[in-house]
């Protein structure tokens, strides 16, 4: 078997042009597949990494987004003091956030887009230690901080810029990172300032809390239900909340699957052509091998191997072509809040494995019928072939 496989590999080099073109076709399929899946994965990973299993968000009942949620101060005060919420010496660790959507122009003068402004207190940073601001700055007065990816996607968001939204100009004093979590797509402003500016005094959109134990979520909801002030509130985990906003990713996966399927079909038919030619040109060699005692099954396997090898090599090339998009910044619409979410393409090792698999499969499926034809041909007919 080893000998015959070596024979197959050598043959790939003999008909270089044909091998290369088939391989390149498969590479295109795998590259397209990977780019689309990397896009979907980038969006999904926001939902997977934002918050931790112990973090919960409290919203007004009946809404599934911070955009449309309003919590009056009295309700927030009461909700803060339910027992399940983690505390430190300064009291319960609760971030009161006001969620505002604003529209800003693009740096290249293109059509403007929506983005999130989050009014925050000092607690926002306690509960989200992943948020790291350059120089440890905090928003105060008209000074605001901006998620780093946003500075390239919108105009006037570089450090030192003045940006106008709401009723006044704000000063961008720093950028922040958040390990790829959802916050990176936001502008953070001092809570009382934005409450005044947006006429939303004495209300916030959401409360972010950290629970003592994961099972406390249910108890928290029961507790909220008990008081007239907090009856209108409900809590869910931050993970679940952001996972609910990754609908675009599912759509991309479906579309990506459709495109990959059609392209694989096209490349598979091309591979079939190549392998039929390979089998046809080597009819006499196949006859000789059979005469030497190699069985039909061995011939079948050997040609399948040859074809799958082209596919695998194509898959590997496709992976190489797609890899540079990993980490590339882009943005998409969050269909729940109608704002732009910045994220980066993400290629995982598992995706590369699937990509290679698709390449190998396209090769194997395309090579199956030709290999079968080679295995089936009677020895004499093969030997007589010109």
């Amino acid at each position: 078997m080893g000998l015959i496989l070596k024979y197959n590999i050598r043959n790939l080099f003999v008909r270089r042009v044909s091998t290369l073109m088939t391989l390149a076709g498969v590479a295109m399929v795998v590259a397209v597949f990977l780019v689309l899946m990397a896009l979907a994965q980038g969006i999904l990973s926001i939902g997977e990494t934002t918050g931790d299993p112990l973090q919960a968000i409290i919203l007004q009942k009946g809404t599934n987004a911070e955009t449309s949620s309003g919590i009056p101060d009295e309700a927030a005060d009461e909700a803060e003091n339910v027992g399940m919420v983690e505390r430190d010496p300064n009291g319960p660790i609760v971030a009161r956030d006001l969620f505002i959507v604003i529209m800003l122009p693009r740096p290249d003068g293109g059509a403007p887009a929506n983005l999130v402004v989050r009014g925050v207190t000092g607690r926002a940073f306690d509960i989200r230690p992943e948020v790291k601001v350059d120089g440890g700055k905090r928003p105060r007065g008209s000074d605001i901080i901006v998620g780093r990816p946003l500075s390239k996607r919108f105009a006037h968001l570089n450090v030192g810029d003045k940006v106008h939204f709401g009723k006044r100009d704000w000063n961008v004093i720093g950028h922040f990172d958040a390990d790829g979590q959802a916050w990176e797509s936001e502008v953070w402003v001092d809570l009382p300032e934005i409450q005044a500016d947006a006429n939303r005094k004495n209300t916030v959109s959401s409360l972010f809390v950290r629970l003592n134990r994961p099972e406390d979520l249910e108890a928290l909801n029961e507790q909220l239900e008990k008081s007239a002030n907090t009856k209108q509130l409900k809590a869910m985990t931050v993970r679940d909340y952001f996972k609910g906003q990754t609908g675009t990713a599912q759509m991309l996966q479906v579309v990506g699957g459709f495109i990959t399927f059609l392209l694989s079909l096209g490349a598979g038919l091309g591979a079939m052509n190549t392998m039929y030619a390979a089998v046809g040109n080597r009819a006499r060699e196949i006859g000789t091998l059979r005469a030497l005692g190699f069985g039909r099954f061995t011939i079948l396997v050997s040609f399948l191997f040859e074809s799958a090898l082209i596919g695998l090599a194509g898959g590997a090339l496709g992976c190489l072509i797609a890899l540079p998009v990993n980490g590339l910044q882009t943005g998409t619409m969050n269909w729940v809040s109608f704002t732009e979410t910045a994220f980066s393409f993400r290629i995982t090792p598992a995706m590369l494995g699937v990509g290679l698999g698709i390449g190998g499969l396209v090769g194997a499926v395309g090579g199956f019928l030709p290999a079968l034809a080679a295995a089936r041909r009677p020895i004499l007919a093969s030997l007589r072939a010109t």
């Binding site: 295109m28 896009l39 007004q60 809404t63 059609l262 096209g266 598979g268 038919l269 030619a277 619409m333």
Partner: protein
């Protein structure tokens, strides 16, 4: 000569069929992507001709404007009619993600004048006057909702919103047809009542008498509300739509790049086939040269065969797309109202096939033409 090309193309029937199928599948995919791109362009184009302008809160669409602005905007010179709207974002209760419907609460009276690019079923707007919960639904949206949920005209349906807290019950009174085939239109006074009459408007449509007055109206409306509690931003329908498309991200660029990869793949498959053909016919080409065929003639024969194969692929692939994506037949669940093959997308598909045929045939053709007769004859397979 043509007969020879045709006969040649079918000498290895299996190979030709496989190549045609491969090219066809890929061109079908390419056509689908071209449809997507052109549907966006057409949407903008149809908006570009509109005499409507949109007034929204200066900060963003999520901020409401006071109802009292209706009369103030109507008083601006050159404005003929004003309509207050709220984007309600309706979803079917219990099946939130199943259908996309542009559900809009709008002032009833200006509807006919404002939505002049829509054809309303006769009498349906009158019926809405007598029914607070009445709604009109796009014909296509109704067809889809009928399939999935058994919606019918005359039925009362419950819808829920990702934005507002209350569910609404709508009585479907009739249908309409127009650019947005996913529309559901209901009375804004009903929404107000459900919400406890806050007097809030999401955005205003205003109709301007002549196209040249549009910039002036935009300026005047925004100037009127400058430095007020709720400043406004007024823009053309096209600009309004562009800002939504811009938020979708760089999807169009992505689609274009994938399109290029698809073209590259078709090229690989076609070129591979032609290279195989050329290898097989080396001796034959030499014999033909001996018989008096010139170098050029052989190259032309060969390239024609290559073009023929890719055009046959295009006939299947692009033709299939033309049949499948007929106007009004296919609209991606209401998300892409203009999703169909236009003459220009069809032409692009055919041109790509022609180009692929030429390029795929060229290299082997030139090699074949260049090879000396003696070399060709000497070669033994």
């Amino acid at each position: 000569m043509l007969r020879l090309i045709w006969k040649n193309a079918w000498r290895s029937r299996r190979r030709t069929v496989l190549t045609i199928l491969s090219v066809a599948v890929s061109l079908f995919l390419l056509s689908t992507m071209l449809c997507y791109l052109s549907s966006g362009e057409q949407q903008l184009e149809s908006a570009g001709a509109s005499l409507r302008v949109v007034t929204r809160h200066q900060t963003s669409l999520t901020f409401f404007l006071p109802e009292a602005y209706t009369a103030k905007i109507a008083a601006v010179p050159h404005v003929t009619v004003v309509q207050g709207c709220v984007w309600w974002g309706g979803q079917i209760k219990g099946k939130e993600m199943s259908l996309f419907m542009s559900t809009i609460a709008a002032d009833l009276e200006p509807t006919e004048k404002m939505w002049d690019d829509y054809r309303f079923e006769p009498g349906v707007l009158d019926k809405m006057r007598g029914e607070l919960r009445g709604a009109v639904i796009a014909r296509r949206a109704l067809e889809r909702a009928r399939e999935q949920e058994g919606w019918e005209i005359g039925k009362t349906v419950t819808m829920t919103s990702p934005i507002f807290k209350h569910d609404i019950e709508l009585l479907l009174l009739g249908t309409c047809e127009g650019p947005d085939e996913s529309i559901v239109l209901f009375r804004r006074d009903y929404l107000e009542k459900v919400r406890g009459n806050p007097g809030q408007i999401g955005y205003f449509w205003a109709r301007v008498d002549k196209a040249e007055n549009i910039p002036g109206v935009c300026r005047d409306v925004d100037a009127m509300f400058a430095n007020s509690e709720s400043e406004t931003k007024t823009e053309t329908e096209k600009a309004f739509m562009q800002s939504f498309m811009s938020m979708m991200g760089n999807i169009e660029d992505l689609v274009r790049n994938i399109g290029l990869a698809v073209v590259a793949m078709i090229l690989m498959v076609a070129a591979n086939t032609m290279a195989m053909v050329a290898r097989e016919r080396t001796t034959e080409h030499a014999v033909m040269r001996c018989l008096g065929f010139t170098r050029g003639r052989i190259a032309v024969l060969f390239i024609s065969e290559s073009v023929l194969i890719s055009l046959l692929g295009a006939a299947v692939g692009v033709g299939g797309a033309v049949l499948l994506y007929r106007p009004g037949k296919f609209d991606a669940g209401g998300m892409a109202p203009f999703f169909h093959m236009t003459p220009s997308t069809t032409a692009t598909g055919l041109l790509v096939a022609l180009g692929v045929g030429l390029v795929a045939g060229a290299a082997p053709a030139i090699a074949a033409a260049r090879r000396s007769v003696v070399d060709g004859l000497r070669r033994v397979d």
